[in-house]
Amino acid sequence: MSDLAVVTEGLVKRFGDVEALSGIDLEIPAGSIFGLLGPNGAGKTTAVRILATVLPPDGGRAEVLGRDVVREADAVRRRVGLAGQFAAVDPNLTGRENLRMVGLLAQLPRERILPRADELLERFDLTEAANRPLRTYSGGMRRRLDVAASLMRKPPVLFLDEPTTGLDLFSRNELWEMIRELVAEGTTVLLTTQYLEEADRLASRIAVVDRGRVIANDSPAHLKSQLGGTVIELGFADEAVATRALPEVSAATGDEGHVELEERKVLITTPDGARLLMGVLRRLDTDGLEPANLTVREPSLDDVFLSLTGHHAEDAQPPEEAAAGGGRRRRGRGAA
């Protein structure tokens, strides 16, 4: 067996006149987390659906663990799990009933179904809720059960379609932890997300998707270094103060970052934000130039897009992904 868990070549998918995928090439190494990053409608869900054999491609080919997703669809289904945005669990069944049903349909031997279900309920912290209908679950619990359902067969390859969209911070961190554990045990994970932060935290490699094309395919560190890393925003009382502060900030930054003036704000883009900030603030303090406010943020998906394509991350909404319904969601971070 090769070391690649997933390979696609020139994958194309059309919905009527809309080309959702315009030739996607991917190579996903076994045993890693691969991030597919892009806005709504970029084609992430379509790509995952083709790889999970629920949607046939219109062109190109895709293999999962060396099995063709069209010609050997059943063999692929026996080796992958799918969870996330759309693949659902039944709200009228209890947690255990849901897992039992999926276990039966995943072709597990009968005697292994309930032990496996209980093991997963335990692992995803759902044992107490196991006999309650899912209607009574919180969003985070439901998502955890969804992931648990996709793991009934211990699939070597797991597809997670925006697994944390709509989750609170606590549930999100919990799910991240569980994904990391799975990969430590040897599972290959393909994760789609709209959040650079999520892809950065989890994935060892990220493909950025825009309008059905891969526009970058790199390690998170490389991707971020292309962006210059952290952005520090220093806001001043008015433009005059900001203009006076600009040379001081530039001097303190030296060649460790890029400085620009934007109305009342001075922006520093730097790979080493925390250390640089100390020097900048010390210098401003000496000169009696007090910033009115201060923001430190990681680059967002939008920054990635701006840097890679020159345009903002816009939501295209082809019919198949319109069901996602969400407008643009971006996670703002940090403060001082």
Partner: protein, 268 residues
């Protein structure tokens, strides 16, 4: 090598896997009837209202077709058929809801028989029909319905009703997968079913209808089934209507089951 043993493990077949898949889906759909009691209540209240309406309000104005056969004995076989006809809408609504919620995407991603979701769903609807038809028989007896033939013939009549209901489930499985939305499925089904139920011999004998309507009303499947059930509970020539009913049911399944399975495979 571990990869090889893992592959054997992944490709191992479960004996009678198709039957097990179908049963898993049927069980799930049956649990819905228990957990969402509205599903059963709504599918039984409507036919009960029709029984009361035709038995006590309109019934008195209906001319008898045969001497010595009270209208209620003519009406109830028609009501049994009407019940499963309107009940078939639930198949369309249920499948469209599964499509919308993502349940079908889950099923499509699993290494299960491609037919299991539809066969399982139609079988669950058949089980529901058994309960609803038994209830309607009880209601019938309460409002004065009597069997003129014998119990065995009457039970055979109920089997015809269930067979027809099962065939219609496949028609409405197709409808549900075509419209892809539960509300639309509900709305689309009624205008199709209303002429089949009302321009039929369910409530009124066909000979009382205008001539141009009689040809349609006499030969369409709802009338044919109602006549078959009637012949088995009131008496008269049974062979022809029973064979016609079986023909209609086989034809509906033969046409719509392959279409529904094809639509299911391409559901997303």
């Amino acid at each position: 090598m571990t990869a090889v043993t893992a592959d054997l493990e992944y490709d191992r077949r479960i004996p009678f896997g198709k039957i097990r898949d179908t049963w898993a889906v049927t069980q799930r759909d049956l649990i819905h009837f228990i957990r969402i009691p509205q599903l059963l209540i709504f599918s039984t209240i409507q036919p009960v209202i029709f029984v009361l309406l035709w038995r006590y309000v309109f019934g008195g104005a209906v001319r008898p077709t045969e001497a010595g056969v009270p209208y209620v004995d003519f009406l109830m076989p028609g009501i049994f058929v009407q019940t499963v006809v309107f009940g078939a809408i639930a198949t369309a609504v249920g499948l469209a809801a599964d499509l919308k919620s993502g349940m079908l995407e889950r099923f499509l991603s699993l290494p299960m028989a491609r037919s299991a979701v539809l066969v399982g769903r139609t079988l669950a609807d058949l089980v529901r029909n058994v309960f609803v038809v038994i209830l309607m028989v009880i209601v019938g007896f309460l409002v004065g319905f009597r069997i003129h033939t014998n119990v065995a013939a009457f039970l055979l009549g109920l089997v015809l009703v269930l067979l027809f209901g099962y065939a219609l489930s496949w028609v409405f499985a197709t409808v549900g997968l075509l419209v892809k939305d539960p509300e639309t499925a509900q709305a689309a089904a009624f205008p199709v079913l209303a002429p089949l139920v009302f321009a039929s011999s369910v409530f009124i004998a066909v000979e009382f209808m205008p001539g141009w309507l009689q040809a349609f009303a006499r030969n369409q499947p709802v009338s044919v089934t109602a006549e078959g059930v009637r012949a088995l509970s009131i008496g008269g020539a049974t062979t022809r209507p029973v064979l016609q009913t079986i023909f209609w049911c086989s034809a509906l399944v033969a046409i719509f089951a392959p279409i529904a399975v094809r639509l299911y495979r391409r559901a997303l």
